[in-house]
Point group: D2
Chain length 434, copies 4
């Protein structure tokens, strides 16, 4: 039993009223041919979980972390690692994600920062071995330090590019050493605050250059994990270049990187861009680029990244419908890039937050599997497009028509009677399973 | 003098208080080496100007159009054409844009609709010859008729695809016959209302197929005008595939159409997508794809396409800064895809609306030219990125570095002192010229 | 059995897969001490159901209404009434709402319009008697006709005020004659498009004057139904004066109308104003002004009134939690001010849409009742504020303290240890019942 | 000359290209019968100017403040005060605003915090005497400390209410001692994160109780300055009770506080609430409650409080039009509650930012005065409503009509021909002066 998280969450079934029990997530239970744990591949994030203070633009931190002495020492950092793995155990979460500077402090020089990171990573490795937890992906923090104020790979100052390169180099190596399955690029400062002082073309080219170097380094060190890029439209800058799934795909295509990077999609980032997460997932899936998911949710009536825990069953069902449609994750997983509200400052709130979200995804999985098993939804869509399977539609798809040949058909085919889209009927069908 | 527009707008200079005079737009005046008319290439749109009734989702039409007998007859359609060219003359607008079904009625059959269109086009041609007005671009209305409820090129029903193909075929030919400089695709129904009933992958493939046919037809008929695609994120559907500049570029790259289509960008569509128009212009410019502009503005506190006339000098200055930076339009122009408010129902309101917008762009042109002439803005940006012109930055740009070589540099280069981005200073500089 | 709606929806229980069956709404089943029908008081609206064409700003109507000859005749209007009551029967909806001009046509003169209305109302009354359906509330359409372009009660032209007064006079009398339980004011044009041409102070005073006349007329004719005002922030104008619950309350307080009008709250209007419906319900409830609900939902990623059918169980649960907390409706009900998507054009889509929404509210009712029965949610809130029940908090509430006396207490009370807000725990609790 | 701000900004006229000169703000120049300084009553805020670090949710502070030793000592706090008054002098700003905890540190106990504040206030007083600068208003920071996580006056814990009361008591006394003309309440934590754990009714009652105590204390100490309440809709909480002008007015009316508090309106808070600042100003003005203005601007494409410097001439013109229409400020002023972008980290950026905003307001003043002098705008509005000045409209305004009497008029008055609202014409008129 954990000192800091005395309540270990276990599956007790839907009728349990124990707030520290799973009602739906039963890791070994088989749904749609696979254990829940293998479908969902839950990960906790180190940054919000261990380093989130609860500070916001109008107030100081509130979180109660009695294990943390508040210092920037390596020892304190190592101490936190132990607590994190206790937390993973208490929640039954088997994977995690980190930034380099979450784990260990930024020191006076880059070399010192690396040395500190190495020492903390040693503790991480030991904890991974002790507990069996795995690294879903790693990343480098290229946005918090003032040197990144004008961007990292897109900074107007090439020395910053060099610093960022060095940081990613080591973060990728650490990820590799810890057996990570992926590495994420989130460009929180790779954008602009005003177009007046910005050379967008040059900045985007530098970003592409940076990612090509990352691909090269990956090969150089033999890292076989998946590289991901993470879309987000605004915040902290007015505009980030990786603003949504399609802007990322456009960038990857333009700079010949689509074979090397997939997308790490986040619900809150999708809604900030004006899209539903399901839209972004399908866009990515259809481009062969759906890599991993930052599982959270936003508040669509608020205009910033609230990073709330995903408990909406409509959201979790939609995610699982898309995931099941593509055969599930390969290297990716559901990483809870989510934070407790500032007012939920007890350690036990970490447990409530994660356990509730895990249950919500377990239900989403069961609901999605049931809808697929039911078959009516997929049948409806297939039937709706049946005109494209043969005859006129088939010929068009095969490239056998031109405007001229279609003109003749259009003039002879008579009035067109469409079929209803039945949106309300399909929404009801979803509710039958929720 | 026009019967319906008795006030012809002429240049009287900045001190004029005549509401029917230009204070800034002097067509022949040379700015930055070219006559204003050749920089601005103003066009009026037939749809809002002649066919906009003022109806909205909560009320009937209000516009007073005494020249229109309210019927769907070809004669009435021809009568409207004459009024439109009177209007162009009264405003000093030398170009125009149209949809096929704006000009002439949708009839019982496609063949009848085409015959009606041909008769009205004859009148248009005569008016063009009489007045010297030119066609900036044409397009087909693939969104108003119920047959397009599920999309046109992306309909689930291939018969609709065929009908749309026939309509574009003829609209492109008419555009060609009238000497049009371009042809626009706006996919108002090419999207979805719900992902539940939609096969997005297949729909996007059909859209690409449709555009490839358009490219083929263009070549077949010898039309050398520019094809454009017009981004808009939502409205009327929940999502259109051409949602913003980058989603369009991604689509064009994916389906190998980037060589054949440029973008027609609209201010209100940009803000609905969460972007400033200037952002969209630069994205397009940097991809070599800035084709034409639908000059209007939205209300960023409202969530739909208000299509207001562009009178904001910040907006017009930004547009002209980008246009001047790329050497101006080639085939494109500033098309006022804008409508009077529903409460501005007099014919003279059409004049106020267009004349005010023309003046606002004339000022934007003069302001942008002055800022470029001043040189401080461009100097600031150039200086800001000077580190990339040689030394470390130059080597990175030339591909001479890897993460490993940069790591060594980063470890030796010491702390980085950035330079201020000076956003406020640059905003003040802009105000010096507005 | 209805000619146009051959499928009568009946309760078959949660395991039914019949799309034309209720899975949860069992009108006579008792929940929390009352029959479902008496909790939910469902109403259908005449406007969307019978008059919604599916037209949108970019396209013509799509709805298939074979019973409607498309004319503006009184006979056609009467024919529609019969179909509407068939529809109510097929869905098991026992109440309805209407605008005067939904029922019958706008004629050349006000007197003719009234005469037409009277004839159609005769048919309505006969159908009400035949079927037992009741009128939840009536209203007058003061927004569609061009005369209302500048507002009705807030028009700059007093003749429009007079016309609106005459229209409301008759609509209120008809509501009274049909035994209506309420009368609604929605001010779709009572606002402005631009502040430049608007005297807001005077317009708001005219609106207050109008409502005082309405109160007077209500008394004069002996109508004892409840008057409601309906908040909505924008669309069709840039701003309506009744923009949200608090702006309405402010207005009612300013002009001494709070005793005479309650609020008719709509989900989509709440989200357009940036609020959750639950927020608006609580604001109104706490002011003693929660009257009735327009049950629909918006798409928070779109910026206009989508008026979708409410199928989100979180939404329906929240509504029912507030309603149960205030003892349920008195004169109000759940009026489906919602429309099928433009692509759902079959008559049967009307049934799917309403039946699904009714089921969603039935589940919301059962879930809310279960949460109240469980008691933990209410206990948590009560406990959270316990400091205010006695001691320091009690004394403050009783008015026994000043800044000076509290200063002394603050200086002696030592550091304050707050309790966690437990938001995530409470969100999980909700999910236990959904 | 200031050590830290070597460039003193002086008026050099519109043709100056000196970035450290005013082009339009000439403090003593008379516009519309009064010196510019007396119209504009500029104030700088202590918090952003001296305490803004440039930290954001994704990064550390960037601002270069070589005068600040980074400690929480009183001596450091006093040192900052001197720098602030140097800054005011360099910019020619004659007023300022502060929070208690901006000036001096939060100490271990309330008594110690007060003692620290007193020592810093002594320095402030000396600097005010030395420089002649005046205090526009003071306030207390009731949102940054963790004790306020659940609110201050609306906390679920009455001890927090007591602490807040003590803090406001002293902040108000300090404001009084320094000759402040007003005192502001901004309730950044007076709202909720989730309705699930909130008793909104009770919280609003506590807030009213708190404000009544403030009114009592004001009288007790003989402070004759104006109390203000500041609307803001969201951020940092999901919802604050003072969400916009009308919600504040509703609250003040409900709890009988409208005679004691006016509104302090902020541009960015207005747009976050979905309103233009001009709307909020008019709402407040018409209720006799327009007190003071926090002069900044937001980015309407971003969903949080960007607090940018107000350089948009449309915005400053609108503000000055409303201010001139009410005869100008009495106790209030234009307080630059605005911050440099995080990337503008040099001390000189503070000067650019303020000087540019002052110039923008000076131009707004001149433009507004010219539009008023021109007279056409006001004439248009007056003429538009002329029907209400006598005849039918006059009788309605005097209360001489009922629905019944108006019905008779409506039936006899014939069809109504409205006049155009001329929005585009009026927008052009504005541009004639910008």
């Amino acid at each position: 039993m954990s000192k800091w998280f005395p309540n270990t969450v276990r599956f007790e079934g839907p009728s349990s009223r124990n707030p520290f029990a799973f009602k739906h997530y039963d890791a070994d239970a088989v749904v749609a041919g696979k254990a829940m744990r293998d479908h969902l591949r839950f990960a906790a994030c180190y940054w919000h979980t261990m380093r989130g203070s609860g500070a916001d633009p109008f107030g100081a931190g509130t979180m109660r972390t009695p294990w943390d002495d508040g210092s920037d020492s390596v020892e304190n950092a190592q101490q936190r690692v132990g607590v994190f793995f206790e937390f993973l155990g208490a929640c039954g979460i088997e994977k995690f994600c980190f930034h380099d500077r979450d784990l260990s402090p930024e020191c006076a020089t880059l070399a010192e920062s690396e040395a500190a990171l190495d020492r903390v990573v040693t503790t991480v490795r030991a904890e991974m071995e002790r507990t069996g937890a795995k690294l879903l992906w790693g990343t480098a923090n290229l946005f918090s330090h003032p040197r990144y104020a004008h961007g990292a790979a897109t900074s107007c100052d090439p020395r910053v590019f060099a610093h960022a390169a060095a940081q990613v180099r080591r973060a990728m190596e650490v990820t590799h050493e810890l057996g990570g399955e992926g590495y994420v690029f989130w460009g929180g400062r790779e954008g602009y605050q005003t177009l007046l002082n910005t050379d967008m073309r040059r900045e985007r080219e530098h970003l592409a250059r940076f990612l090509h170097m990352a691909v090269g380094h990956k090969r150089a060190i033999g890292f076989t994990g998946q590289l991901y890029i993470e879309p987000k439209p605004c915040e902290p800058t007015k505009h980030q270049y990786d603003s949504d799934a399609e802007s990322c795909l456009n960038f990857l295509r333009e700079f010949d990187l689509l074979g090397d990077l997939k997308l790490n999609l986040e619900a809150n980032h999708a809604t900030l861009a004006g899209h539903e997460l399901m839209h972004e997932l399908i866009v990515a899936r259809d481009a062969g680029a759906l890599g991993s998911i930052d599982a959270n949710r936003g508040d669509t009536l608020l205009g910033w990244d609230t990073d709330q825990f995903p408990t909406d069953l409509y959201l979790t069902t939609q995610v699982m419908l898309v995931l099941l449609s593509m055969g599930g994750f390969t290297t990716g997983g559901l990483n809870f890039d989510a934070k407790r509200r500032r007012e939920s400052f007890d350690a036990e709130d970490l447990i409530h937050a994660h356990a509730g979200a895990m249950d919500a995804f377990a239900r989403g999985l069961k609901i999605a599997a049931a809808i697929i098993d039911d078959g009516r939804l997929a049948d409806f869509v297939r039937t709706r497009y049946r005109g494209w399977d043969e005859g006129l539609g088939g010929a068009i798809e095969r490239g056998e028509h031109s405007f001229t040949s279609l003109d003749a058909i259009a003039k002879s085919q008579g009035a067109i009677e469409l079929e209803s889209g039945r949106q309300e009927r399909l929404e009801n069908l979803l509710n039958e399973y929720i």
